[in-house]
């Protein structure tokens, strides 16, 4: 019953194979088995968003998915999108706007905001940004500076696109 199951998945571009017990959540597998501790575990029931990672291109809760369910999937964590430079502009904006203090929520905030910024269409309004990050708790910043940072990147990326067109 506690037997392990073999899984193979791609994490931040690298293929990973492991034997895991079914009850291990994806966030624990990433942190404890793979040592990718950028993703955090807060509430363990979907409410705080600290564990948010990308699975097959979509932001999901690492605490509400089992590692065995990620068999065959492509997983990206904050380490992966940092190394690739994909969210360098967003990280820079977080830094400049003081959009992090203790940093506990930051990985989840970045992964969540990145999904909104990738959605296409006109740059999101502040209300839309707030709605999109409504599932991510930050106990330090008061959110204002986070919304500032995301808004700035959204507008900068839209301006870039306009310039290229």
């Amino acid at each position: 019953m506690s037997a392990t199951l073999p899984i193979t998945l791609t994490v931040n571009g690298e293929s990973v194979s492991a034997d895991v017990a079914p009850r291990v959540p994806l966030v624990d597998f990433l942190r404890e088995t793979l040592g990718l501790t950028g993703t955090h575990l807060g509430c363990a029931h979907g409410v705080c968003g600290a564990c948010t990672v990308r699975v097959d291109g979509a932001a999901v809760r690492g605490c509400l998915m089992l590692a065995v369910q990620a068999d065959g999937a492509t997983v990206e964590t904050v380490e992966g999108v940092s190394d690739s430079g994909e969210i360098a502009d967003l990280q820079d904006a977080f830094h400049r706007h003081n959009a992090l203090q203790c940093g506990f929520c930051t990985a989840g905030m970045l992964m969540t905001a990145a999904e909104l910024l990738d959605a296409g269409g006109p740059p999101p309004e502040r209300a839309e940004i707030r709605e999109h990050i409504s599932g991510n708790y930050c106990r330090c910043t008061g959110y204002q500076s986070i919304v500032d940072a995301v808004e700035e990147v959204a507008q900068a990326r839209a301006a870039d696109k306009g310039g290229q067109a």
Binding site: M1, P22, R23, H45, G46, A58, A59, R61, C63, L66
Partner: protein, 287 residues
């Protein structure tokens, strides 16, 4: 806290899933999006012996038009329902309500069928299913059966599903042209479960009144509930405030941590009055 240890099975077909559930008996649970189940297991509110992962059964996922009905597969994710052009065009009530279901990362995994099978009393989709007269498609080793939404929700987290029965999809009749929807929800924070909510459909007007009305409330009681008294008042041509006064006439309202019974009744009345007034004003403007 962590879940207990359990076995894990991932069938490829619905038939195999119900066979495994029958074998597993009391200790087996289906896992779809896992957005409610795993939260419960992480707190050991439930300690199953086996999880049957139905999330990769491809035939149970997707949205399909069948004549004047839309069939939404049980495993269609909330995000997919929200992004569907068919749903936006033909079932705007669901498109509207989906915006209030949880947060984006949860909508990326949570499923339409999971929401209905779970039957949280404060959830949006069960009330929409009532307002739209949806029909649930159910599979067990004994065969298939259909259950109308009106007979599906029986109580707090209780449905007409027998142990081991699988919800495979939901068939929703498309409202005729001229039908209108109303929706309203009060929650502490965007994406939270409702403190009180309203999902309703009104038939096309004939002789100044809607030809039919289905008014469903959620978050008030142990399960989503239609208000027959409010519907009758609407069909009689009563003014919005008089219809609203009937909102909770036959609904047993329960107070909770968010609001006591009297407050919830008040919310329900205000929601119904506002939505009926808004629809009446829209009508006047376009007349």
């Amino acid at each position: 806290m962590k879940t207990n240890a359990f076995a894990y099975q991932r069938p490829d077909t619905a038939e195999e899933a119900v066979r495994l559930a029958a074998e597993g008996g009391d200790g087996a649970r289906f896992i779809a999006g896992g957005q409610s189940l795993l939260a419960a297991l992480n707190f050991r509110l439930d300690e199953p012996e086996a999880l049957i992962d139905i999330s990769r059964i491809a035939t149970l996922r997707g949205i399909e038009r069948r004549e004047n009905r839309l069939l939404i597969g049980a495993l269609t994710r909330h995000a997919e329902v929200a992004a569907s052009p068919e749903v936006a065009r033909d079932l705007p009530l669901i498109a509207r309500a989906m915006r209030e279901v949880a947060h984006p990362a949860i909508r990326n995994r949570g499923t339409f069928g999971g929401s209905l099978a779970l039957a949280d009393p404060a959830a949006e989709m069960p009330a929409c299913a009532l307002a739209l007269d949806a029909v649930m498609h159910v599979l067990s080793p004994e065969g298939r059966r259909q259950v109308p939404a009106a007979e599906f929700f029986c109580g707090m987290y209780e449905t007409a599903l027998e142990p081991g029965e699988l919800l495979t999809g939901v068939e929703i009749p498309l409202p005729e042209p001229g039908a209108r929807h109303g929706f309203s929800e009060l929650a502490r924070r965007h994406g939270d479960y409702a403190m009180a909510g309203l999902a309703m459909m009104l038939g096309p007007r004939s002789g100044g009144v809607p030809s039919w009305a289905r008014v469903a409330f959620f978050g008030l009681s142990d399960c989503p509930a239609r208000s027959a008294a409010a519907e009758a008042a609407i069909l009689s041509g009563a003014r919005p405030e008089d219809c609203a006064a009937k909102a909770c006439e036959e609904i047993e309202v329960f107070g909770d941590l968010n609001a006591d019974e009297a407050t919830k009744r008040h919310y329900a009345e205000v929601m119904l009055r506002r939505e009926l007034t808004r629809l009446a004003n829209d009508e006047e403007r376009t007349a």
